[in-house]
Every structure is written in C-alpha cells, then in structure tokens.
Symmetry: C2
Subunit: 449 residues, 2 copies
C-alpha cells in the first residue's frame, strides 16, 4: 500500500520534471515524510536531483540530505551553488552538517562554514571522526542548571528551544557547565513548579567521552535502555548528546558490516545499487585473492599425497564431502561465537568454557556424521577399509573444525582484530587444507596406501 503510493508519487514527479514544472515536483516531494522523500529522491537521476533540490523548501532538502548515504550526500553537495548549500546546511542537525562538511573539499567546506548561522557548533563537531561518540552527538540540546526549579525549567524549555528533538532527557549542569545529573520531561511535569531540579534529578548519569567508539555507545544505550547518552570531556563538561535514532542506525550498520565480513567481503559504504561495479570489486578482491593463495596450500597437500591418490583414485571421491563438512561445521561455530561476542553473551574470560562446549558439540556431531559417512561410502564404493577411513576422518575433522572455530574469534578479539574477519570463508579455507591432511594421514594408517 505505502509502496504503491510512493511509486505513484515518483511517477507524478517524473512527469512534472519532464515538462520542467519544478513547482509541482517540489510540492509532491514536500508532502511526504523524510524517509520517503529520500527514497523517491534517490530514484531520480543526477540531473533531476541537481535541478530539483534548490526549489525544495530548505528544511525538507535538509531532511533529504540527512537521510541519504554520506557519499551520495557529498556528491550532491559538491555540485550545488554555495547559497543553496548554505541555506540547506543551516537547516540540518549539527552532527549531520558536520559529517557532510567533513566529506567536502576543505575549500568548499570553509566557504560554507563562513556563512553558516551556527558555524561554531558545527566547527567543534568536525574534529571528531564519524564513528565515535563525538561524531554521533548533536550539540543542539537543552541543559538545565542545578539551581533552577521545575517551573523555571519548563519556562526555559518553552522560550529557549521550542523544537529540539532531544528534549525527553534533560541533562543538568553546574555553574562550570559540568554534567551533574539528568531529569526526564515527565518528572518535570508531574512535580510542583517550585521543586528544585537538584531534588528530582538523578545524579547517577551514564556518560561517555567524545572518543568512545560508536559500538560501545550503542551497547551502553541498549543495555540500559537509554533514550539519550551525554558526551563529556575529561573535566565532565557536557559537550553534546547522542539520541536513540542515531543508535538504531549504528546497530543496523554494525550488523551490516558483520554480515558482509562474514560473507568474506569488506562492507559497502552506500546502497548496493548505488555502489559502482568497480567499487564493489575492490571490496571483494582482497579476501578472494588471499583465500585463493591459501587454497594453494590445500592443493599442495593434495600434491604431496599424489602417491596415495594414484594408488586409490576412489579416495578423491570423498574429498569434497570431507572438506565441505569441515568448512560448514567451522562456519556454524564461528558464526555463533561471533554473534555471542557481539551481543556480550561471551567474552575472553569464557574461552575455556566455550571451547569445552564446542568440543562436546563436535563429539556428538562428529560421531553422528561419521557413522552416516561410513555407511554412505560403504554403499557407494563397497570397500570396508575405505569407509572406515571416511568415517574416522569425518569425526576428526568435525571435532577439529568446531574446536578451532570456537577459539579463532576469541583469539582475534584478544589480539584486537574484529572477530568477523575469521569469518565463514576464512574458516572454510583453513579447514580445507588441514582437513585434507587429516584425511590422507588416516588413509595411510587405515588403508596402508
């Protein structure tokens, strides 16, 4: 339903643009919600975008720019006349404006800054990198003073900042602008107007410093169900606040990164279809090449057991099954452990328990699959000793894969590497070579080839 309405709006907008009726086109887009505005806007071609943006009301244009992926927003901004750009940036949230200016050519950014209303606010934000608390926070917030009463506080909210989105938690500072507490809007309303803020505020506030990683901020906000997280400097001066909508975006983008890394590719920085073929190729080739060279190790194992293969070509039949099973058992384990680390269920200190857990799982899985492998190969080739080789190999390989798969992500965390890099593909490739080595050695023992 929603989707149909959007498609209809898009069609009507394209028709308007075709006959150069920019007024109608901007009316159509201005009537939508910001996320929908951005979706429709993205579907226009570059020329139409550049043509339409200056005619849209600056507040709506600012919403659209904020909703776009950062590189898309920057590309659009680069082409805009300075006056249009300034008008739009003036309407943007300070944190989003800082992100955008940071992505522009320094000369253009300076030119914009020189004409902005709240240039000082935005300038102070540009210094922080996008993925830290400083990069996420907004400097447009209400801070109450400890000496106020609730009545004064409500009056202050009414007169100072009628349209801040960050009003649900109100942070309280002392005379030196240091964070000392938090009040929520509900408490302000339900208390008699003469109540001192100091009496109703909660002085046990969770805060972070500006260089805190965005993932840690997201963990804190999620763990303690916070709608806003204050950012302070070393002297506890309140610098800004991070709001829940930014947190949700962080969680989504961190999950996206994890999933893409697990698939063995570097994460994309913008929408899939807007990322060029060359850019995606660049994100993938590194891992693919590395794994390609690692796989030559498997080839080398195969090469060094050529005598065995010559003596019994039937051995080769079971190679894909064995290394496949090892790779899959390993991927299952790493995926589970990586996620358990990400949501905080498992940490370094649990390494020993995790390993024991996986060995237990590996024994059951390995025994079950080994027995099935035994009978399967017996039915296929009909050689009792070859089947024994296959069965034992399955058991050992599965055990090895679950054991290694459980420790690798923890080991990566220990040495400070993102555990998702020891992902499915890496695990599979690793287990391929070692699995084959295990198989041929068991064959040598059991079959005597």
């Amino acid at each position: 339903m929603e989707q149909v309405l959007l498609e209809d709006a898009l069609t009507r907008m394209r028709e308007a643009l075709e006959i150069n009726d920019l007024t109608t086109a901007s009316h159509i887009i201005e009537a939508l919600r910001p996320a929908d505005q951005a979706e429709i806007f993205s579907d226009l071609n570059d020329f139409q975008q550049a043509q339409l943006l200056p005619t849209i009301n600056p507040a709506d244009a600012a919403d659209i720019i904020e909703e776009l992926y950062d590189p898309e927003a920057a590309e659009l901004a680069v082409q805009m006349p300075l006056t249009t750009l300034v008008r739009i940036v003036n309407e943007m949230e300070p944190d989003e404006a800082a992100d955008l200016l940071d992505d522009l050519d320094p000369l253009q950014a300076d030119a914009v800054l020189a004409q902005l209303e709240a240039a000082h606010r935005i300038k102070s934000l540009i210094q922080y990198s996008d993925d830290t608390a400083g990069g996420l926070m907004t400097t447009a917030f209400v801070a109450l003073q400890r000496r106020m009463t609730t009545g004064q506080a409500i009056e202050a909210i009414r007169t100072w900042h009628p349209d801040e989105e960050t009003i649900y938690y109100l942070f309280v500072t002392d005379r030196l602008k240091r964070l000392v507490g938090v009040v929520n809007l509900r408490q302000l309303i339900v208390s008699p107007p003469s109540t001192p803020i100091a009496r109703i505020m909660d002085d046990d506030v969770i805060s972070v410093t500006a260089d805190t990683d965005q993932e840690d901020c997201a963990d804190l906000m999620q763990r303690y169900d916070l709608l806003a997280l204050p950012v302070v400097d070393e002297q506890q001066h309140l610098l800004g606040i991070i709001t829940i909508d930014d947190l949700v975006d962080v969680i989504q983008s961190e999950a996206s990164e994890d999933i893409q890394r697990l698939g063995g590719a570097e994460p994309l920085d913008r929408a899939y279809l807007d990322t060029s073929i060359l850019a995606i190729t660049r994100k993938r080739i590194g891992w693919l090449l590395l794994l390609f060279f690692t796989a030559t190790l498997t080839g080398w194992v195969m090469d060094s057991f050529q005598a065995q293969l010559q003596a019994m070509v039937a051995l080769a039949i079971f190679i894909p099954m064995l290394i496949g099973t090892g790779g899959n058992a390993g991927s299952q384990t790493t995926a589970t452990i990586i996620r358990a680390i990400a949501v905080g269920d498992v940490g370094l200190r649990d390494a020993w328990r995790v390993w024991l857990h996986e060995i237990g799982i590996g024994v059951i899985l390995g025994l079950g699959m080994g027995i099935i492998g035994y009978f399967l190969s017996l039915a296929w080739v009909g050689d009792f000793r070859l089947s024994l080789t296959v069965g034992i190999s399955v058991l050992v390989i599965v055990l090895w894969a679950t054991g290694a798969g459980s420790l690798l992500p923890l080991l990566a965390t220990k040495v400070g590497i993102d555990p998702t890099v020891v992902s499915g593909p890496v695990m599979s490739t690793l287990v391929d070579a070692t699995g084959l080595f295990i198989y041929f050695n068991i064959a040598r023992l059991v079959l005597g080839v």
Copy 2:
C-alpha cells in the same frame, strides 16, 4: 571499570550467599541497574537464584526477569512459590508478563492470572504470538481524548499515570476509542493550557495491526524515526503501543538470527553458554547433514570424471582452489545481497539490475583471478594447457558463482523463504558440485583428456 565493579559485586554476593546472608545479597543486587542485576543474577547457580529471588524487592525481581532470555525466565518461574511469582508478575510490564505466562504450564499460568491486579490487560496480550506487533506492544499507555485541552491533558497525565514509560508520544482517540492522532509531550508543554488537543495533534499517524510481523514494525519505526508505534484493530481501536526499547531488541535479535543462519546454523533462543550442548547440536545437525548429502553430488561428479583424473593426476591439485574460490565468490555475493534486502536497499523489482551488477563484478573478478590462476599453475606444474584450463575455469566459475549468488536470495524472497537460508554454506556446497563439473568439462575441451 564497570566490569570490575560488577565482578566485585558478584564476589561479595557469592560470599553473602555462602553464609546464607540473603539480606546483604539482595541489598547488593538492588543497588545495581536492571541490566547489571540480570547479568550478575545469571552468573549465580540455579539454587542460589531460587533462594535469592523471593528476598529481592519485587520491582527489582521483575526487572531481572524481564532482562533474562525468555526460556531462562520461564524455568525460574516454574520453581517459584505462587505468591512470590504473583508479587513479581504484578510489577512486570504487561507485554513481558504475557510473554512469561505464555511460556508457563497453562495450569500455573491460570493460577497466577487469577491473582494478578491487571489480569485483564495481560490476558488480552497472551493471545498474540511473541514475534508480532501484538506480542511486542504494551497495554499500559496514556491515551488522550480529542476534546481535551492541553491543560487538561497535562493534569490527566499527572493524576492518572505517574510512571508510564510510554509518555513521550501521547496518542489521541475519539469517543469510540479509535486512534485519530498523536501529540508529543513537548508540544503539550509549549502550548498554552487552553489549546485544544485536536488543534496541536498530528492526525497523520503511522499505525500497525496486532498481527504485523515484528520485523516490519522495526522497519517502520526505524524508517520514520518513531519512539513509539501504535497498534490498532481493524476498526482503528487503539490496542497498545510498541516502544523504542523493544524495537532495539528486535533489531538485535533479527541480526543475530541472520548471522547464525548465514553460518549455516539455526538461531539459538538463549545465551550461548546457557544453551545445552545437545540443544546446540540439534540446531546445527540439520543443515550439516543436508550439506553432507549435497556434497556427495560433488563426489559423484568427481567419480564420473575418474578417467580424466587417472589420465592427469595434476588436475586434482587445483580442485580445492577452484571450488574454494567459487564458494567464496558466491558467499560474498549472497551476504551482500541478503543484507541489502534486509535494510531495504534492494527488492524483488531490482532483480534484473542486481544480476547485471553482479555479472559486471564477476567479469572483472573472474578475469583478474583467472590470469593469476593461469600464472600460478604455470609456475607450479609447468604445463601450458593445464594452466589455460585452470585460468578459464576460474573465470567461468567466479562468473557463475556471482550470478547465482545474486539471484538465489531474491528467488528465496520471491517464494517466501528467508533469504538467509541460501547462506554461505549452502552457496559453497552448491558451487562446489557445479564448479567441479565446469572444471572437468573445460579440461576435456582444452586438454583433450
């Protein structure tokens, strides 16, 4: 720092429990924040948990139960005396209480319900399944009437519901209790007290019905930056509201499910270390067996090309490299596309564009890797025609893997299957068999074996 404090609290609590000093133990846990209470509580053994819970203040106990994974909470509740359980459930949020009672034995659930204060509220929630809007929503919310003034509304908030967490958006209903608009708390405060609600409310409210899937609710809330989402029946009667903290949990758990499925395992329903070895084994064996049998297909391809292998054993050396590269290229593609579908960047209607995109990427990756493969195998075996076979095979296999990897997730979506099931392991196994087939056929053509 935080972690150290928690460990310290845990040690002191264990000491208190050892000498049976339940009062001290409950004081220690009551002084913490809910998420920390739950973490420490989970670290106690079953006996300690059962012993401690009745002595903790019921509001804190309710917080702890709410923070635990559902099955853990249910196990704990089963062992509790009825009066304790009733005291705790009375303090829980209605939606959490309904989830818990739904997990209990019906007889016990009925016994609890019979003594609850807000039994009707909770009963009406039990009918909805956990992963729908009805299962997520709370029935404890403030609804304003359209005819009220802002002054009356603030007075109503003060007297009726002093401690609802869901107060930041206030939904407005008409005389028949149908949802007609929304006001936020800030608007109430900044408007003069005599303003009619109907004048300041926004009548363009996004709402969902009770049977809406939780993932769709999360998408809506994220897309439109909503702090709360109202749930209505077919006649637009307001049934409840979903708050942002529930949404964040949904996003996290959906990401967890996706990541585990991508690794080829069914998602766990509780913390990793609290899931028994047998339970985890059961979540993994299905896929592992299926992939095991699919891998026999690869074995069968290998078997049917025995003549070629006999004639040229060196062919076998490159098998792991080729099928590994195919599997990896395929996993990269599926992971990217699955995530693009999940965040809404790509849909069914984009299938053709996605496929073209991936074919472009496949050509570049395949050519690059093919040339490297050619020289690598030339350096290794020194056979010009074998190297040509390897090089061409890499190109064709990578192209095939990216092409298939892009369409499979979309195809799964089309037929209503979760695209994560065509995950890395499935993709790898599929590409293994077909990749081998491609390799041997190219070998037959180029080498004439």
